[in-house]
């Protein structure tokens, strides 16, 4: 704690030095703080006085009360305060091995990961608060709920560092701001360690380690495990083949989180939860049905298709082709159709589309989006591969040749 840090803080917050006294500096507050016009805050300046540090400390406490911030943030200054957040932050790098899109990540994947991380973290706060403080808070559920809500509101995860090139980022919880609003001192003390504890109890778990898995089973009951670990597991075992790596603050990889085996998931997540997951069974049918063209809709039951019907055929796999694409809102009639296979992955609940000629595949949740997805995927391929500067690698050349074979000449570089 230094005098200069305090005066910097005051001046940053628009306090004005009004008078330099023998023992004190007197600062006038900005009008918006609502003090009387005559009020001046005395800030001790006689550094050799034996009670200088104590009075400075008390002055900091007054300022922290005015701004409802912790004393450390005043003493350290804004930049240093970010450094503290960064020091306790958890750093991740998300990366894709999908060469089709040059290892870029889907926004949806990033969004899902951040959402799952936040859900896991919020549930972790709720569960840990209850487990640690239920008795200390007088087993009063209303009080716990009140503190919990305040805690979650004040301790949200925030992005404190970002590296766009590799999509690496650091998240930390602000565990100090608004500390005066946490009425229970022990809760506040515990709150200050939250990010570190969340890292060791949840994010840093080695799912391949028997000890780590057993510690989860011992520490949390089935419902708690579901709330904390299910969101993260769904991101770790994602369907988009992106990898999550824990890094240091310079985004140097420390540990890649490996996909978790079904056996371990079965141990961590309660069985009934896994079984409860609805699984679609998708079949492909080709049929001819008479349609009353005066009606707006056609009513078709699954049983209609499965019944012995001369005009209906069940397909194991759907083969199809696309004869045009829409690129940059412009319809492109192809020289040659793009042939594809569609299959349904029941486990993941996704339609898998494969373009066999160039061995490119992509996934789709909603089948009705197929044409749209084709347009998107091929727009990306065209804009990337037909603009490569220099000599492409073998795989790249294969895709370029294919694109040139299907696209009308002269329309693309």
């Amino acid at each position: 704690m230094t005098l200069e840090k305090i005066t910097d803080y005051l001046e940053d917050n628009k306090w004005q030095l009004n008078k330099i006294g023998d023992k004190y500096l007197f600062y006038a507050p900005p009008a918006e703080l609502g003090f009387s016009e005559t009020y001046l805050l005395p800030v001790p300046r006689r550094k050799k006085a034996e009670d200088f540090n104590q009075v400075l400390q008390e002055t900091t406490a007054i300022i922290s009360e005015i701004y409802n911030v912790n004393m450390e943030s005043i003493a350290l200054g804004v930049t240093d305060y970010f450094d503290i957040l960064k020091k306790d932050a958890i750093y991740f790098k998300l990366s894709s091995e999908n060469v089709m899109f040059q290892k870029t990540l889907e926004i949806n994947d990033i969004w899902n990961f951040l959402k799952n991380l936040t859900t896991a973290y919020t549930n972790y706060i709720k569960i840990e608060l209850k487990n640690n403080f239920y008795a200390k808070l007088g087993a009063d559920n209303n009080r716990i709920k009140k503190i919990q809500n305040k805690l979650i509101e004040l301790t949200k995860l925030r992005v404190v560092a970002l590296d766009y090139q590799s999509f690496s980022f650091g998240v930390a919880a602000d565990t100090m701001m608004g500390r005066t609003e946490i009425e229970h001192k022990e809760v506040q003390k515990w709150r200050e360690k939250l990010t570190r504890n969340f890292m060791s109890d949840v994010v840093g778990i080695d799912y391949g380690s028997r000890n780590d898995v057993e510690s989860i089973l011992e520490k949390y009951n089935e419902d708690e495990r579901k709330d904390i670990f299910e969101p993260l597991i769904s991101s770790i075992n994602n369907y988009s083949d992106f990898t999550i790596t824990i890094t240091d603050k310079n985004f140097k990889p420390k540990k890649t989180i490996k996909r978790i085996s079904g056996q371990v998931i079965g141990l961590i997540l309660p069985k009934e939860i896994i079984q409860e997951k609805p699984q679609k069974r998708i079949g492909f049918y080709q049929t001819i049905i008479p349609v009353d063209i005066n009606k707006a809709a056609v009513k078709l039951r699954v049983s209609d298709l499965q019944a012995n019907n001369l005009f209906t055929q069940k397909l194991e796999e759907l083969d199809g082709h696309v004869d045009h694409l829409v690129v940059n809102e412009k319809k492109i009639q192809l020289k040659k159709n793009i042939d594809f296979h569609v299959s349904y992955d029941e486990k993941n609940g996704l339609f898998q589309i494969l373009i066999p000629v160039i061995n490119i595949h992509f996934s789709l949740k909603d089948f009705n989006e197929l044409q749209h997805e084709f347009n998107d995927q091929f727009s990306t391929l065209i804009s990337y591969y037909l603009n490569i500067k220099g000599k492409p690698d073998v795989r790249g050349q294969e895709i370029i040749d294919y694109l040139k074979s299907i696209l009308p000449e002269g329309q693309f570089a």
Binding site: G34, Y39, E50, D51, V55, E65
Partner: protein, 171 residues
């Protein structure tokens, strides 16, 4: 409990009442009745018409000395007290601090029963208090037991006293 201890406790209470009358907060050590902290409170206007009271960061740290009324000597525009050399030196040593110690001398009638008077209407404390801060000319004393100090008449503890003390400390 001896008479001096009782008077010290009463002096602390007297100063608490005086401070509270002027809208200040006091902190008194329950085991040390010879000291007192008087903190200035201020008001802030908050949004939506709300108001908050908070500490202003101005505080008086006091040492309390009960004193028999009969031993007070009147000077010209001042009052003279004979105080313990140890107390005097404590006050003197603290003069260079950010928050120097203020000596509160509380004079009480020598008659023990006359210190506090109860009636149906009120309770009266028969006390007069003066405050003392050493000035730049004050020097340590060689006296072994007591030293005479002179306090201006206007350093009586009344409605304006704390404001005057704050103005002397916060310079």
């Amino acid at each position: 409990m001896d008479n001096e201890t009782k008077k010290t406790i009463l002096s602390q209470k007297y100063l608490e009442v005086m401070a509270a009358t002027n809208g200040h907060r006091t902190i008194s050590n329950p085991t040390d009745h010879a000291t007192i902290q008087i903190q200035e409170l201020i008001e802030r206007k908050l949004p939506k018409g709300r108001r908050a009271t908070m500490l202003s960061n101005r505080e008086i740290k006091g040492v309390i000395l009960p004193y028999p009324e009969s031993q007070v000597k009147q000077g010209k525009g001042s009052v003279k007290f004979s105080i313990d050399t140890g107390v005097y030196h404590e006050i003197l040593e603290a003069a260079g601090r950010q928050r120097p110690l203020v000596l509160f001398i509380c004079t009480w009638p020598s008659d023990d029963k006359g210190a506090v008077i109860f009636s149906k209407e009120a309770m009266s404390m028969i006390c007069t208090s003066y405050w003392f801060l050493p000035n730049k000319k004050s020097k340590p004393s060689d006296a072994s037991k007591t030293i005479n100090i002179e306090v201006p008449d206007d350093q009586i503890v009344n409605a304006k006293a704390f404001e005057k003390i704050f103005d002397q400390i916060y310079i």
